[in-house]
Subunit: 238 residues, 2 copies
DNA sequence: CTCTATTCTCGTACTGCGTACGAGAATAGA
DNA sequence: TCTATTCTCGTACGCAGTACGAGAATAGAG
């Protein structure tokens, strides 16, 4: 266990984790499964947020003792990894790329956005580096196929994938937080009063003006589309 | 305490937190200061990562009892909020906008990137919604001034600020994670072997090709600039 | 059928976290 | 000097992740 300290990205050995078809034909038969445990953890995160996902809660939901989970995942960090890849299984795309790679890429990003809105914990879970599991790789495979007509080299394509994903995650995280604030009237009111007070102090003329002339309210959807188009339209200007 | 559960964004009342010049002229004189405590927490996060920032460690570093911290911040979440705004004090920009808002915006983003690389915990800390403190607001004020020539309305300018910040955070988070992996030879090797194994299974032709024809290696710096330009160059195409 | 090696289950227990509580110390005005 | 106020911090509680190891279940060997 090499605690380097500086970053929390103590990720898991991918070979140990993903390249195990399992073959132990001796000893006690497993009572649970990695699948079931992961699914329970995902359901919990969907329903009550990531911080509700504790080993005790997951074990209880699945009907196991706490320590039994450790037969299926070496630690909680790994369970998170499994959760991320598990939900990536929903990202299956059946139709092949159309040839219009811009349109395809837009569709990919929209798919990712819907996906992350359905699993609001995903942007947070993705904010630390993950090793791609099989489902993630299947999706990546599709995105690479979409990018084929661009003629970009391998590293560049991977980079585009990472950037698009990061962009969508960032946007959705913001979108969720914004929604959570405006859904709580007292919090929204408090924030409004605070910003109004700051704007009234005379030291923030630009902010004061921005708040007094807000313009038409922006829907998250429109904003997402707009920024996404900017990003994608610029993609072949190298 | 309204635990809504679904999101971890239980933020703090901004009026209570930021609009307090402090005036208690009675009672025991404080032995420490919010400043000092926040600075200690920041130093700790810089040196050993965010997960090293515990109330006990911060208290020890500052020479206080653990519970004394709670006279300066109501809880740890708030301390994080203070840390974020504290480091935003480094973002002071003295020169006024040049008038070339694209160039100014690029400079802003580069400043943010350097800032986040100096405080690698910042992207993570920013991934949950924060109420802007005074230093953050001062920087926002500058960015709004930069955006004045665009003629965008208030909401749109704020949106641009949020997007640029999210973009930089996403990029830097990726950059840091990537760097951490490649700085550890065994981990990089394990990941390489894993991906090679996946590429060799025949089910991932695109990935196989991308890995076999990587092209010239991309420096984070160049990639950042490229994507940033794409984002900014698209900004007036509404 | 029994023995043994193997694998999984899970109660107990340890460490470390955030923080509620409240007794005591320091200070300012009456 | 007294009292109200404010800050300090030792103790303690509940919950987190998980190390340990005893016991239960299973598969092949004899």
């Amino acid at each position: 266990m090499s605690r380097d300290g500086r970053s929390g990205a103590e990720s898991v050995d991918p070979e140990q984790l993903w390249l195990r078809p399992a073959e132990p034909r001796r000893g006690r038969r497993p009572s649970f499964s990695r699948e079931a445990i992961t699914a329970a953890a995902v359901a919990l995160a969907d329903a009550e947020g990531l911080e509700a996902v504790t080993m005790r809660r997951v074990a209880a939901d699945v009907g196991a003792g706490v320590m039994s989970l450790y037969s299926y995942a070496p630690d909680k960090e790994t369970l998170l990894e499994l959760m991320v890849d598990h939900v990536c299984g929903e990202l299956t795309v059946t139709d092949p790329p159309s040839g219009d790679w811009r349109a395809d890429l837009r569709a990919v990003a929209r798919l990712q956005r819907a996906h992350m809105l359905r699993h609001p914990w995903l942007p947070v879970a993705l904010s630390t580096r993950r090793v791609p599991g099989p489902n993630t790789l299947a999706f990546l495979e599709h995105v690479l196929a979409v990018l084929r007509p661009t003629g970009l080299d391998g590293a560049a394509k991977l980079e585009v994938f990472a950037q698009i994903t990061a962009f969508v995650a960032g946007h959705v995280a913001h979108e969720i937080a914004q929604g959570a604030v405006s859904r709580s009237p007292d919090r929204a009111a408090a924030e409004g009063r605070y910003l109004a007070a700051v704007a009234a102090d005379g030291c923030h003329p630009e902010l004061a003006e921005a708040l007094s002339a807000p313009g038409r309210p922006l829907t998250p959807d429109a904003t997402f589309t707009r920024f996404l188009n900017r990003l994608i339209d610029g993609l072949d200007t190298d």
